[in-house]
């Protein structure tokens, strides 16, 4: 199936663009970034702190399939509903430097919208190192799916 998400990471640059068009009205798309209980669902993470305001901060905790806990946090610099979010992002207790994220939310039609993320890294090498660890990134959202798979396998083993 064709992926709807576009990703641009040009050589010789230390940034990354991710964009996606959603079959959702703009306010619904933004709500998925605003309400902690919804963030938890699609990010597969636990929201420890979330202050959606200028100089507010956020802290998420994820548990990997081995049961290890990982903390992600950052400071919010801009939080303008249905328009933009500017924030830092840090993976606590890893060697990855802090990154800067610019999120832009746009209405395309009353029923569709687009999110563009511009992520700036400390260096090109830091960007590439992060890209090389897709399993580290995806592990959060993957957790619930792993649990489903494990449960299904358990069932099969019992049959």
């Amino acid at each position: 199936m064709e992926l709807k998400t576009r990703l641009t990471a040009d050589e010789g640059r230390q940034d990354l663009w991710i964009s996606r068009e959603f079959d959702l009205p703009l306010p619904l798309l933004f709500m998925a970034y605003k309400k902690p209980e919804i963030i938890e669902q699609w990010m597969g993470t636990k929201v420890l702190t979330f202050e959606p305001e200028r100089l507010g901060h956020y802290e998420f905790e994820t548990t990997d399939p081995m049961g290890n806990k990982h903390i992600f946090c950052g400071t919010i610099h801009e939080f303008e509903p249905n328009h933009k979010i500017t924030r830092t992002f840090e993976m606590v207790n890893t060697s990855f430097p802090v990154q800067l994220e610019f999120l832009l939310f746009e209405q395309l039609t009353p029923e569709t919208s687009r999110l563009s993320m511009h992520i700036v890294f400390k260096s090109e090498a830091d960007r590439n190192n992060l890209l090389k660890l897709p399993f580290a990134q995806g592990i959060n959202g993957a957790h619930n799916r792993i649990q489903e798979i494990v449960n299904r396998l358990k069932q099969q083993n019992h049959e």
Partner: protein, 105 residues
Amino acid sequence: MNLRRDVFQAIADPTRRAILLLLASQSMTAGAIASNFDTARPTVSKHLQILTTCELLKQEHNGREVYYHFNAAKMKEVAEFLEPFRKLWDDRFNKLEQIMKSEKF
């Protein structure tokens, strides 16, 4: 066999990503890897076999033990690692879209 596509498929599976994450910092035997998962041992062996076939893992014999270690060199080309990263975000956004469509606000 399209080895390039196989790498993406290998990484698309969450359990295999978990295995790679586990092996990113250390070499381990199949038994030690399996003990980290609440999954049947043959299932973990199958995942190890797939990851070894597409060269994301390498086997190292040490006496009677076989240790698996992550072959980071396989992921060195930008073009090779962009696609799995894109797939992960796509999965995440699909989930977001699905949740926002199904919930009543």
